[in-house]
């Protein structure tokens, strides 16, 4: 699409969408949001970029192949599930380490396997959607 307004606008939009997608990802476990919706928003950012500057440019901006991203995401999600093995809990049991407190209400923040799982989902969704979207974009 050769519109200077769209191309210029896309730059701002893409940056905003990417930040927003990370915000949604991190907000995930306790509030509405999460890896799935974050990944979708992230994919929209790259799709907007592909519409404005072409999918070749968008692939360069992504740096890695979307299919590979999805598969790595699957691996990350799987690892997040396997972590609970170390602690002797059933598969996918969330492992939490609270910093500055001992629960969601009191702690400043937490390090946990649930977020790792969400990051995996984020990558799977981002990679999966983009591999389809780029293929469609390049078809025509």
């Amino acid at each position: 699409m050769n519109s200077i307004i769209f191309t210029a606008g896309a730059r701002i939009l893409v940056a905003l969408l990417l930040v927003f997608s990370l915000f949604m990802l991190l907000r995930g476990h306790h509030l509405p949001g999460g890896g799935f919706i974050g990944g979708l928003i992230g994919a929209i950012a790259f799709i907007v970029y592909a519409l404005a500057c072409g999918s070749a440019e968008a692939r360069t901006a992504l740096r890695v192949s979307p299919e590979g991203l999805a598969m790595v995401g699957l691996g990350v999600a799987l690892l997040a599930g396997l972590v609970s093995f170390v602690f002797g809990d059933p598969f996918f049991t969330g492992q939490w380490y609270w910093v500055g407190g001992d629960s969601y209400e009191t702690a400043a923040f937490s390090i946990n396997s649930v977020l790792v799982f969400d990051i995996g989902v984020y990558l799977v969704v981002l990679g999966g959607i983009l591999s389809i979207a780029f293929a469609f974009e390049e078809e025509t």
Binding site: M71, G75, G81, L82, D89, P90, F91, T93, G94
Partner: protein, 500 residues
């Protein structure tokens, strides 16, 4: 660590898929896939041992107790399906060493293959209806990928039909799940048993049961919902079509067996009566469809349909003997049918085609292949003493015990027509001379390709013979599996935590 025993048969194929995908540009991918399949087989064997000890094992994912979390639960039927999935997976992973070209490997063949195996295994293990739907989707997506991998015109045509019809099936299934949740407020299968029995609106329950039957029926390729199967199974590579033929339709049959023994048993006179006639028509149309075909794989595809009828018949008759026959049939058929597709692949490599009119001479030039074809082919038709004989015997005996002579007659008649198709393949591919005057000797294919393709064929044929000559332990196993299906008290109690 019971819970990990249940997770491993699913987690290993997923992990293998990830690693194999990252290594797809090198030769290592195929060996990783092979190693992953071997590990899966070990993990499922360990699971089988646990099931033999305890009867039913269950694990609550993420420590959320049933009925709120996702439960993995394996009884005798589930355990044998998981093991047989791993065996088929390993056999086709070996076969792929010879058959799958580097071009397809670079497109991610092994990753898709392992994801498919993970999806099938997950479907056999889950104790949650919505989770079952998710596994169906995992299978659908990866099998679609495998079907169109390579992207020839014929494959895309088959892929579209396959995906469109299977999507309809999953949508019907999903709508059924939605209604079921609305009526009962739970989707845990064990919990559903009581919830469905106590539901006020039994009419609506029967409607939901029919939606499930249609959804699973498309997956299992029963009459009249089987169109997608013969339209698609003859196009992908042979390793892929062997996995499809062996496992995918059986997931539909398994789901039918599970839901219509555990949950939808309120109106057996209605639902299972329909299943009886559906099974009879499935057997007949499948075998008659096969009679009209001359392509190796198309004949075999139609025979999948006719054989599915026997398995659903085992469920439909709903006696201990019939269900036992159904379970036995399920296992026997996966081994035999996957093997026949693998044989078709070697025949194609040697003689140059799958159209029976354009090949021949295999008996004279490749007697070993001919012998390895006869074993599964005659087992399929139900010749004693091969595994298919016992499977058919149990089903027919169950039908006769119920004085359902018509069904028994149909089952025997279809067996006879199966022999007709198998002798047709035998006569045209093996006995008659090659129409182009070629001698399809084994050395037409390099050892590097031929040997990995022959090993799994020999192994699966050996299993067919083993089950045939030594059916006692397998029949006893099927008997316990059937008893568990008819009286799922253990299953329900294990899932809901009444029993440790």
């Amino acid at each position: 660590m019971m819970s990990w025993l249940l997770v491993m048969p699913i987690a290993i194929p997923f992990a293998t898929a990830v690693v194999a995908y990252l290594m797809r540009m090198s030769d290592a991918g195929r060996w990783i896939s092979l190693a992953g399949s071997a590990l899966s087989l070990l993990a499922s064997a360990a699971l089988m041992v646990a099931v033999l000890e305890r009867g039913v094992v269950a694990a609550q994912m993420s420590s959320w107790d049933a009925p709120f979390g996702i439960t993995l639960v394996v009884d005798y039927l589930g355990a044998v399906m998981v093991v047989i999935t791993a065996i088929t997976g390993l056999a086709t992973a070996i076969y792929a060493l010879g058959e799958i070209p580097a071009r397809l490997e670079k497109l991610g063949y092994h990753a898709l293959f392992q994801t498919l195996i993970a999806g099938v295994t997950g479907a056999f293990m889950t104790g949650d209806v919505f989770n079952l739907y998710v596994w169906f989707e995992v299978m659908l997506i990866s099998s679609f990928g495998l079907l169109v991998l390579g992207g020839s015109r014929e494959q895309l045509d088959a892929g579209i039909k396959y995906v469109a019809l299977n999507l309809v099936s999953t949508l019907v299934f999903l709508s059924g799940i939605g209604l079921l949740y609305g009526v009962t407020g739970t989707l845990n299968m064990a919990d559903l048993r009581d919830a469905v029995a106590n539901a006020e609106n039994q009419g609506l329950i029967t409607v939901i049961a029919m939606m499930f039957m249609v959804g699973f029926g498309v997956k299992a390729a029963v009459f009249p919902l089987f169109f997608w199967l013969p339209a698609s199974y003859h196009t992908p590579s042979f390793a892929v079509s062997a996995v499809f033929a062996g496992l995918l339709t059986k997931v539909g049959v398994y789901a039918l067996m599970r839901m219509f023994t555990l949950v939808f048993v309120g109106d057996i006179g209605f639902t299972h009566e329909i299943l009886i006639w559906v099974s009879a028509l499935t057997m007949l149309t499948g075998v008659l469809g096969a009679a009209a075909q001359t392509d190796f794989r198309k004949i075999l595809s139609f025979h999948i349909i006719s054989q599915i009828g026997y398995m659903t018949l085992g469920l439909a008759l709903y006696t201990p003997l019939a269900l036992m026959g159904g379970v036995f049939y399920l296992v026997h058929h996966i081994i035999v049918k996957a093997n026949l597709f693998l044989v078709a692949g070697v025949a194609n490599k040697l003689a140059g085609h799958t159209d029976l009119n354009r090949i021949g001479g295999l008996y004279k030039s490749s007697p070993l292949l001919a012998a390895l074809f006869v074993i599964p082919a005659f087992s399929l038709a139900g010749f004693p003493p091969l595994s298919g004989f016992w499977a058919k015997y149990l089903i027919v005996k169950a039908a006769i015990e119920l004085d359902n002579w018509l069904i028994a007659f149909v089952a025997l008649f279809v067996g006879l027509l199966t022999i007709f198709s198998m002798t047709k393949i035998w006569g045209m591919a093996f006995w008659k001379p090659h129409p182009d005057g070629i001698d399809p000797t084994p050395d037409r294919v390099p050892d590097k390709v031929r040997i990995p393709m022959m090993i799994p064929i020999g192994g699966l044929a050996a299993m067919t013979i083993l089950i045939g000559f030594y059916p006692e332990p397998f029949v006893q196993f099927a008997e316990v599996a059937a008893a568990q299906l008819l009286d799922p008290t253990d299953y329900v109690e294990t899932v809901l935590g009444a029993r440790p």
